[in-house]
């Protein structure tokens, strides 16, 4: 008896024709029980489903049938979605949600779902609830050809089980074939409690007493002569196999002794999947010891494929601790073949590997795990390049944070970070910012030089990052000159931040550029925030010049300017009021009051607010 298994030609690759083909419902299918679109609540949702997946016919003559059909099509879509989308695509989340909702709703409303599987359709209590004749797409066909003949889902089935069922089907849909498991084995191993499967277990001879070659193999006697197949080279184990035996001279009586359950459980747990990562590293260690043995013909090339598989397994599981242990083992055997070992080690820390590690480590990790640093330091690799590659691909905040921390670490250790900055300048703004942040922490002086070059970068986030770098620097002259340059930024947020810095640290030299900025921007667009910030800067950096200038901004000299509002006047008035808000003197109040009598509503409010502030602060006196 043999168990059937399957090869699917998709083998994980998307069939371009299939994806683009605009699949429609199978030809020739026009069941009289087809659902009336006007009554099908899923029609709208159906239209949103990509054409590649929107292919199965909506069938069902009864409400139970319709609901079951919806649930099965949801299952089919979800399983096929992994063929068409990257596993972490949002579309897959939509399909999962759809599957969960439809399946739960159907089971709750219509009870146990007992499905008979036929080559291209599924039936429930004799009613066709699923049909798809395209072998590539049909859920029924896939189940049937893999040996499943009946599936029963009970109400109360946990999402865990539904997910497991989907997992098995998804693996089959993407065409993955393992030499250890087939679908029947996978279903058996799943150990479903609320999902029943009836499946073929293999094929058996149809004849009671087969003729031909089988006949002479059926021998019920106790001694059987094995028929050797001619034409095949035979290997016989030596007659003294397993010899010599160890010494067994001592004897002792065999008695029953109860073994405590906790000890048994501890031993049995060694077979759990939780122990597998440790076991894999142990195996590699043992094998490399064999390779090291000069008397044994096992070579490193025999073991390398397994080492790669173990490495990939540990990466996929996010097993940082055991991955580090594996690297230690490999490091200790580098003398076997440095190039080969280095190649393996390199793939423990390439971009793909780093992504996996950081995704598993990143969640909830605010600081850099020391074992991660240890791991990377053991591996000779272009870590900084890989880390920067990762920043391009990885947008999860936790992973990015860890990546920045790693860049910071390795930038400190590299003797010439020039290539990092070269790369930084070539990158898109988001990545540039991350790199600049990391390098600023590691080598602030050099980073400042690079940041200054980015002061007029077109991206807002880059300019903001430059400001952050400037804010941490002690080089006052360079900082101030750069800030003044950035006063011309196209972004109001940048200008405001610049003004805030200038307020805190600016010298008198910033007075005129600030005043010029206000005047220039007053007619081109300046925000209230900028006006406020600019006014304060002017008052702080050079109060002697600020007061008369701002008083003029509020009440310009000359009749013409007083009676005809000049372009940009409101902005300058606003700026001046903020600037003069804390300057003592009746004269200021007088001018503000003058303005309040002839200005627009908006400015009037500012005037009043300023006057009130001044009165409270006692600034209205000379």
């Amino acid at each position: 008896m043999s168990e059937p298994s399957d090869i699917d030609e998709n083998l994980g690759e998307v069939d371009a024709g299939e994806a683009q083909g605009g699949a429609t419902a199978s030809e020739g299918i026009a069941p009289s029980s087809e659902v009336d679109p006007e009554t099908n609540p899923d029609e709208e949702a159906e239209e949103e489903i990509p054409e590649e997946i929107q292919y199965e016919a909506a069938v069902g003559a009864t409400s139970t049938g319709i609901a079951t059909n919806n649930a099965l099509r949801s299952l089919s879509r979800a399983a096929r979605s992994f063929l068409l989308y990257e596993p972490r695509n949002q579309a897959i989340r939509d399909f999962l949600q759809d599957y969960r909702e439809n399946m739960n709703a159907t089971l709750a409303a219509h009870g146990t779902m007992a499905l008979d599987i036929r080559p291209f359709e599924m039936t429930r209590d004799g009613e066709v609830v699923y049909i798809e004749r395209d072998r590539e797409r049909s859920l029924a066909f896939r189940l049937f050809r893999d040996g499943v003949r009946r599936i029963t889902l009970e109400p109360g089935v946990a999402w865990e089980e539904l997910l497991r069922l989907l997992e098995i089907l998804s693996i089959r849909y993407t065409g993955i074939r393992q030499s250890e498991d087939d679908i029947v084995t996978l279903l058996w191993k799943a150990g479903f409690k609320h999902i029943g499967i009836v499946a073929v277990e293999g094929f058996v001879p149809e004849e009671e007493r087969p003729e031909g070659s089988l006949a002479d193999q059926v021998d019920l006697g106790r001694v059987k002569k094995r028929r050797r197949r001619p034409g095949v080279a035979h290997i016989d184990a030596p007659p003294d196999f397993d010899s010599p035996f160890p010494n067994f001279d001592e004897q002792a009586s065999a008695e029953w002794v109860e073994v405590p359950q906790d000890r048994l459980a501890a031993i049995a747990s060694e077979a759990d999947s939780l122990h597998l990562p440790k076991t894999t590293v142990h195996l590699i260690s043992r094998l490399l010891r064999v390779v090291q043995d000069a008397t044994d013909p096992t070579e490193l090339s025999d073991v390398l494929p397994l080492i790669n598989e173990v490495r990939d397994f540990l990466l996929s599981e996010g097993q940082l601790e055991h991955l580090t242990a594996l690297v230690r083992v490999l490091e200790s055997h580098r003398d076997l073949n440095e190039d080969e070992i280095d190649a393996v080690l390199g793939r423990c820390a390439d971009t793909r590997a780093l992504r996996r590690i950081l995704q598993s480590v990143g969640k909830g990790s605010e600081t850099l795990p020391p074992e991660l640093v240890e791991l990377l330091e053991m591996i000779p690799s272009e870590h900084l390049q890989h880390l920067m590659d990762l920043l391009v691909e990885e947008r999860g905040s936790a992973s990015r944070r860890l990546t920045r921390l790693l860049i910071e670490h390795f930038v400190r250790e590299t003797w010439d970070p020039g290539f990092v900055f070269e790369r930084m300048h070539r990158e898109v703004s988001g990545v540039l910012v991350d790199i600049l942040r990391a390098t600023s922490r590691a080598i602030p002086d050099r980073s400042l030089q690079e940041a200054v070059q980015l002061a007029s970068h077109q991206a807002l986030e880059v300019q903001m990052e430059v400001l952050w770098v400037l804010g941490r620097s002690d080089d006052e002259a360079l900082v101030e000159s750069t800030l003044l340059q950035m006063l011309n930024s196209d972004y109001a947020e940048v200008r405001v931040r610049v003004l805030e810095y200038l307020h805190d640290y600016g010298s008198k030299a910033v007075f005129q550029p600030t005043a010029d900025m206000v005047q220039k921007r007053s007619t081109r667009g300046i925000t209230d925030r900028e006006c406020e910030a600019a006014g304060k800067v002017l008052s702080v950096v050079d109060p002697d010049r600020a007061k008369p200038m701002m008083l003029e901004w509020i009440r310009p000299p000359g009749m013409f300017k007083r009676f005809v509002e000049m372009p940009g006047a409101q902005a300058m008035q606003r700026t001046a009021m903020h600037g003069l808000a804390d300057v003592p003197g009746k004269e200021v109040d007088k001018v503000i009051r003058w303005l309040s009598e002839r200005c627009a509503e908006e400015i009037y409010k500012v005037c009043m607010k300023t006057l009130v502030h001044r009165r409270k602060e006692g600034l209205s006196r000379d």
Binding site: M1, S2, P4, S5, L11, F82, P87, R88, I92, L96, R100, G147, S170, T174, I176, Q178, E180, D182, V198, A199, V200, E201, G202, P205, E207, G212, R222, K224, R229, P230, G231, A233, H234, I235, A237, P238, D242, S243, F245, P246, F248, E250, Q251, A252, S253, V257, V259, I267, A271, T280, L283, L287, V290, P305, E309, F313, R395, V433, E461, W468
Partner: protein, 496 residues
């Protein structure tokens, strides 16, 4: 924004939908499962089997169809015959024996279902062609030459014999010198639960037949595996896994499981017994069925190192091949691991298998550290069987056990060894004893519980008068009779 975070716009994960954590976690999990499954996939093997398997069927059926229209002498046959010969050679090189089964319009090659282009219908039609001769499957144990292919096609194209069509084909093939092909009858699918033997109600004789069949099949498969591995082919655990499943489903301690199957296949029989003994320990330990299956398979592979050929050198243009030699005892464990390393694709069972093969002679307290669980189990099972087998220690079962007990904690895991002792009982299967009433019996069952530790189920082999009983007499010593004396001889010493 913290001081640590650059100023970036907040990334909106799900701007439209609002997926709950369960869905997000499910997606992550499914992605990981697919990644894991891909890691376990031997893509090269899959592609090769799929492509060559499809080609085999397509060309074979094509030849049969052509033969209806043209003579075999026609030049048009030359290319497909050559193709078919090459394909078979490639498949044999990769898989060893190539087993093609047609069942209910499906075609399986070494248990892998072959898909065909929907329009071609090759698979279905080939099945129909074979069915004419009441053939459901063929196995090719070695490549076929072009001339053999030619003859084979000619034979299959003939009209079926009316009385014994398959035998006629087999005879014709043999006469044509095609010895490496084996034919099988028609198959059908077996559905779960169908036709399972109820071991609680059938007679022990019927159980024994089944057990003998399972054990024989297992022993043959072990030998086949040895041949394949020795010929540098890929390890194939699937058929062995099925044998283990049958053993597990039949009850690892089923009665009648302890009779030696025969004298010819000593090595295969030893390996299967080690597997069964390992399963007894595994069951006592409380391993899951999945882990038990992996353990049983690992045990079936544990001595495969004897199939390796050290020092073998392939033939070159100027020199003949050097056959090589069997590794000595000291290296057979490592040799076995080396052979198993050929299997590609990560799988937990493979890891356990290679490790246990490598460590199965290591001591519990050895210098390289505690061996893996499966290795510790197989060590106990193997040493026991080596002590009792007729071409090994030749000891009685009870004697063997008593000689292992002193080494608990040094050679053997003490807890596992105790489980083994508890499971086999005071009088392990195969122990000969003189019963109270004077008959001679052989223990045939494992220990059922503590109360029956020294009261096994036995089969009477000589009645009190010294005669062989006419019927099968099985006595449960927990219910009747008792052991007067344990005999220091082995069952085969008594002539039937």
């Amino acid at each position: 924004m913290t001081d640590d975070e650059p100023w970036v716009e907040d990334a909106v994960e799900d701007p439209v939908t609002n997926h709950d954590d369960e869905i997000l976690e499910s997606q992550e999990r499914l992605g990981q499962a697919l990644d894991k499954a891909r890691a376990g996939e031997d893509r090269a093997l899959a592609v090769a089997v799929r492509e060559d398997g499809e080609k085999f069927v397509r060309v074979f059926y094509g030849l049969l169809r052509m033969l209806r229209l043209h003579d075999l002498d026609n030049e048009a046959f030359a290319r497909p015959i050559s193709d078919l010969s090459t394909t078979v050679e490639q498949l044999c090189g990769l898989l060893g024996a190539v087993n093609v089964v047609c069942v209910e319009e499906q075609v399986y090659l070494n248990d892998i279902r072959i898909r065909f282009d929907e329009s071609a219908e090759s698979g279905r039609m080939m099945g129909a062609e074979l069915l004419r001769h009441r053939i459901g499957g063929i196995t090719m144990h070695a490549p076929l030459s072009e001339e053999q292919i030619r003859r084979m096609v000619e034979i299959f194209a003939e009209e079926p014999d009316e009385t014994a069509p398959r035998t006629a084909i087999a005879t014709a093939l043999s006469k044509a010198g095609i010895e490496q092909m084996e034919l099988f009858g028609v198959f059908r699918f077996r559905v779960t639960g169908e036709a399972k033997v109820d071991h609680t109600t059938t007679s022990s004789r019927h159980s024994e037949e089944e057990v003998v069949a399972i054990v024989d099949r297992g022993a043959d498969l072990v030998e086949d595996s040895l041949d394949n591995l020795g010929a540098s082919r890929m390890p194939n655990p699937l058929p062995l896994r099925r044998v283990v499943t049958e053993i597990i489903e039949g009850g690892v301690g089923a009665e009648g499981l302890w009779d030696e199957p025969g004298a010819i296949n000593q090595f295969g029989a030893h390996v299967v017994r080690v597997s069964r003994l390992s399963l007894i320990i595994g069951r006592a330990l409380g391993l899951s069925d999945e882990a038990l299956q992996d353990l049983g398979v690992a045990a079936l592979f544990h001595d495969m190192g004897y199939g390796a050929r050290e020092g073998a050198v392939a033939a070159t243009a100027t020199s003949a091949a050097i056959e090589g030699y069997t590794p000595p005892y000291e290296r057979h464990a490592a040799a076995g691991a080396r052979l198993l390393l050929r299997q590609r694709g990560f799988h937990p069972a493979k890891i356990q298998r290679i490790l246990s093969t490598l460590e199965h002679h290591d001591d519990f307290d050895g210098p390289v550290g505690k061996p893996s669980l499966f290795a510790r189990i197989i060590r106990i099972a193997e040493d026991f069987d080596n002590l009792i087998r007729s071409n090994g220690g030749g000891l009685t079962s009870g004697d063997a056990l008593s000689r292992m007990v002193p080494h608990a904690g040094t050679r053997y895991d003490p807890d596992l060894l105790q489980l083994f002792v508890n499971a086999l009982g005071k009088h392990p299967p195969g122990t000969m004893m003189l019963l109270n009433e004077g008959s001679i019996a052989v223990s045939i069952g494992v220990c059922r519980n503590r109360a029956t530790f020294d009261k096994p189920v036995v089969r009477v082999v000589r009645d009190s008068a010294g005669n062989v009983p006419e019927d099968d007499v099985v006595v449960d010593l927990a219910k009747e009779s008792g052991v007067r004396l344990v005999l220091n001889s082995r069952p085969e010493s008594l002539k039937r």
